[in-house]
């Protein structure tokens, strides 16, 4: 042992070698390129193919967009401007159609002196929905949220202020009935809270609204549903259906998970029938057949019919998403709620639904995105949504033959709406996941 250690060694390094710079292929851009783009022959081929594809698209679409003409009154004028400034064969988009038809694309045939109303309604919606979306805001703002639907209705359709007011009073009456009867008997409280508002709406709303209108005629000019169009129409149908379909979907999901066979099977049949048939067929049913099913002589607004149909349709999808959430909860949660002596509604409200809804959020938001995209289908029953307006715009002699600019614009608008909804759902998912740990 000692011999080997004692052996004289020819050379021993007594200082550390200075740090060397890494090889050029292992640092910076080159390293990144090697690792990410050219790590194997297959990867290199994929990279080159993708880059070529990107180049091809940009080479075809890029000049067309950059040369785009934003101010002109017709397609012919656009072409003249292009021929004068760029030359006859240069590709140039005519975005002037968007600037010239902007009010129509946004508001359809809504009266031009009332354009502020949908805009304010949208702002009211965002203010109203903010406390629901972001829990950092004070909870007392939720009272404002409850008022939002009435304010939005008033702004969009107009008419006397007292109509929505009287309808709202019905809800207030229901709430106070519940507060008054619930301490006496919870069943009576629930039944009262359902029956009193219905009676109120049937017998008192009309007289109250007309007397108040007669004494104090405050309100906005009434605007008919047929004047709605463009993105106003899509957003109104979308928002109304989203707000209405969530509670209905929850009820349907609870119905489908119920122990009571009759309730369960009616929910199953409803959900499966709605989901099994395409939305177009339901929309045609709404426009062609609804008059058959209602008492002779009734006839109501096409837009309202569409909102009802879209609501029922997406409620069935939401019910399935929430059912997934309910089924994913461990059985112990249900048993624990029962063991605490909570009745069905209390256990649902306090234990089951908060957890089930949390799990279902991505699915629910996906359904909402689908619903919003599906609002374009109303074009087939004669409502002028943005896609319908492209046909109307092309039908005018000024813009005959214009396609891509309009499609691009509408596509981008829908993309912005839907993508931001999707991002919000991701944010919510992440936030709730963190709370879980």
């Amino acid at each position: 042992m000692s011999d080997t250690q004692a052996q004289t060694v020819a050379y021993v390094r007594d200082t550390m070698v200075d740090a060397q710079t890494p090889p050029i292929t292992e640092v910076g851009v080159i390293k990144w390129l090697r690792e990410n783009l050219f790590s194997s022959p297959l990867n290199a081929i994929l990279t080159i193919a993708s880059l070529y594809l990107v180049y091809w698209v940009i080479a075809h679409v890029g000049p067309w967009m950059i040369n785009g003409i934003w101010v002109a009154d017709s397609l012919t004028e656009c072409r003249e401007i292009r021929n004068a400034t760029l030359g006859a064969d240069v590709p140039a988009a005519c975005f002037a159609v968007i600037t010239e038809r902007w009010p129509q694309l946004m508001f359809g045939f809504y009266p031009s002196d009332a354009y502020w109303r949908p805009v304010v309604a949208l702002l009211v919606f965002f203010v109203g929905i903010a406390p629901v979306l972001f829990d950092k805001l004070p909870r007392s703002l939720l009272i404002g949220t409850l008022l939002t639907p009435f304010v939005m209705y008033l702004l969009l359709w107009g008419g006397s202020i007292w109509g929505p007011f009287a309808v709202g009073l019905g809800f207030v009456a229901g709430y106070f009935t519940f507060r008054f009867l619930n301490p006496i008997n919870s069943l009576m409280g629930t039944i009262g809270a359902i029956i009193v508002p219905i009676l109120f709406w049937f017998f008192l709303t009309g007289p109250i609204a007309s007397t108040l209108t007669a004494t104090a005629p405050i309100g906005l000019p009434f605007i008919e549903s047929k004047d709605f169009g463009g993105f106003t129409l899509s957003v109104v149908i979308g928002i109304a259906a989203i707000i209405l379909s969530l509670p209905l979907g929850i009820l349907l999901a609870l119905g489908r998970q119920s122990d009571l066979p009759i309730i369960k099977y009616s929910a199953v049949v409803f959900i499966e029938v709605i989901r099994g048939v395409p939305l177009i067929v339901w929309l045609f049913t709404a426009s062609l057949l609804l008059n058959y099913f209602l008492p002779p002589g009734t006839n109501f607004d096409l837009m309202l019919r569409v909102i009802i149909m879209v609501t029922l349709f997406s409620a069935a999808y939401i019910a399935e998403v929430i059912r997934g959430g309910l089924a994913a909860l461990p059985k112990g949660q249900y048993e624990a709620a029962d063991a605490l002596g909570l009745d069905y509604w209390k256990s649902m409200q306090l234990i089951i639904l908060p957890q089930a809804l949390k799990i279902s959020i991505p699915g629910i938001v996906n359904t909402f995105i689908g619903l919003f995209k599906d609002t374009t289908l109303v074009v087939f029953i004669g409502l002028l949504d943005p896609v319908g307006l492209t046909n109307a715009i092309r039908a005018s002699t000024d813009w005959n033959g214009i396609y891509w600019e309009l499609f691009l614009f509408i596509g981008i608008m829908f993309f912005i709406f839907c993508y931001s909804m999707g991002r919000y759902s991701l944010y919510l998912e992440k936030k709730l996941q963190r709370e879980h740990r």
Binding site: E35, N36, L37, S39, N43, L46, T47, S50, L51, L53, V54, L187, D259, L260, P261, I262, I263, S266, E272, V273, R275, G276, V277, P278, L279, I280, V281, F284, T285, L288, L289, N291, Y292, F293, L294, P295, P296, I369, K373, D374, T376, L377, V379, F380, V387, Y403, W404, F407, I410, G411, F414, F415, C418, Y419, G422
Partner: protein, 425 residues
């Protein structure tokens, strides 16, 4: 000594119907049943009254009367003297055609995009992200009319293919022509057709061919028998492997079973490829894929493919890395790891949402209305209703068709789920 408390008396009070949980469920259900029946009675009563006041009856006899309209794409023989029922059938087959083609293409696109989206290659990864987000967040209707507009507005006219100074040329050895009136692809004919139809030459000097359903039946029947035979060969190889531990080499048997019978049948039927060619102002012969079919098919496949890509990605990510490592530790080779360990587990995650995407695609094919594709909504739910005035019956049949189709697909999915479910408590 008596017991602590007397047992409750067995008498029944009416209030128990509401307060006793044993009876309350019956009360609730009976009330619900009465409400549902009342609602249906009200609706049906309204319908009867409305039909009476319009002077209409409820009768499906119209399905037997002559349709009187033409359909531009048919998979079975049809002319305008045939019945509305036949027209509906033609529409149903067109719906199924675009649905099946769409499902195949969407699966292909979706699997490729889903796998590429997981790639470490930055460019490919981002490109696929753009594709998926772009298609998922824009309405399908917009894609359909966009692709239709590209086909009708930007593609060359058939006359540009004409003459010596043609500005356009057909693709793939003169067999595919892309024009603004649709795409022409070669079709398959049989010079020794079994159908008894007279063989006709497409143009001078070409082989005379005919087609009949029976030829296709024979061709695909042979293929099916070959596949059954191949599965027998594989099972035998499995048995030998179980018994001796050595798997016999069978790939050449399998290949021969697949190719030889098919080749022989094709030879005896005289299978010929008939290419489209320009005649008059348009292409003729070959198979004509109309713009409406192309637009609907492409848009449906690309749109659904974006959703399938996300499903595939989630399915692959759902399998933990430990599974691969465990398989390697057992000494399995990479491809057997994939086949025996990863895919069976990933499939369990992927298949159910995949099938519901197929269902969505089938239902979305009703957007055919945007491009005038003659699907079941256009024939039965469109022209037939307009001509006969039978909205109620027509819509009922249309809804019934879609409902039956989706229930059938869901039944298949439930069956699959049950057979692959993990057996837990």
């Amino acid at each position: 000594m008596s017991t602590l408390t007397d047992p409750p008396k067995a008498s029944f009070r009416l209030s128990q119907l509401i307060y006793d949980t044993r009876y309350r469920s019956y009360t609730i259900q009976i009330v619900a049943l009465i409400l549902i029946v009342a609602a249906f009675a009200w609706l049906i009563n309204n319908t009867i009254e409305n039909l009476e006041s319009l002077g209409k009856d409820f009768d499906f006899g119209f399905l037997g009367s002559a349709a009187g309209y033409d359909i531009n794409q048919m998979l079975i023989p049809y002319d305008n003297q045939m019945s509305h029922g036949r027209a509906a059938l033609v529409g149903i087959l067109n719906t199924l055609l675009v649905a099946v083609l769409g499902c195949l293409a969407a699966t292909l696109i979706g699997v490729i995009a889903g796998v590429l989206r997981l790639s470490k290659n930055w460019v490919v990864n981002k490109l696929m992200a753009v594709y998926v987000e772009g298609f998922r967040n824009v309405p399908l209707l917009l894609w359909i009319i966009l692709i239709f507009a590209i086909m009708t507005e930007s593609m060359p006219q058939p006359r540009e293919f004409r003459g010596d100074d043609a500005t356009q040329a057909m693709l793939l050895d003169d067999s595919v022509a892309i024009t603004n009136r649709g795409i022409w692809i070669p079709r398959i004919g049989f010079s020794n057709s079994l159908s008894g139809n007279e063989a006709v030459a497409a143009m001078d000097g070409a082989t005379p061919v005919a087609t009949g359903a029976i030829d296709w039946l024979v061709l695909f029947g042979t293929l099916a028998i070959s596949i059954v035979a191949i599965s027998f060969v594989r099972k035998r190889a499995d048995r030998i492997q179980q018994a001796t531990g050595v798997r016999p080499v069978t790939w050449y048997q399998q290949l021969a079973l697949l190719v030889v019978p098919f080749g022989l049948v094709a030879f005896f039927l005289g299978l010929t490829i008939v290419k489209p060619f320009l005649q008059g102002f348009n292409f003729t012969e070959g198979t004509h894929l109309r713009n409406s079919l192309i637009a609907l098919w492409l848009a449906l496949s690309l749109y659904t493919g974006a959703f399938i890509a996300e499903i595939v990605r989630a399915g692959i990510l759902a399998i933990s890395k430990g599974q691969t490592e465990a398989a390697f530790a057992l000494g399995l080779q990479p491809n057997r790891t994939m086949n025996l360990i990863i895919l069976p587990q990933a499939m369990r995650v992927i298949i159910p949402p995949l099938i519901s995407q197929y269902l969505n695609l089938t239902k979305n094919s009703s957007l055919a209305i945007a491009v005038g594709y003659m699907d079941v909504r256009a024939t039965l739910g469109g022209i037939t209703i307009n001509q006969t005035g039978r909205e109620l019956e027509g819509m009922l049949l249309l809804g019934g068709f879609y409902l039956a189709l989706s229930l059938l697909i869901s039944a298949g999915m439930n069956f699959y789920n049950r057979s692959t479910q993990l057996q837990e408590r």
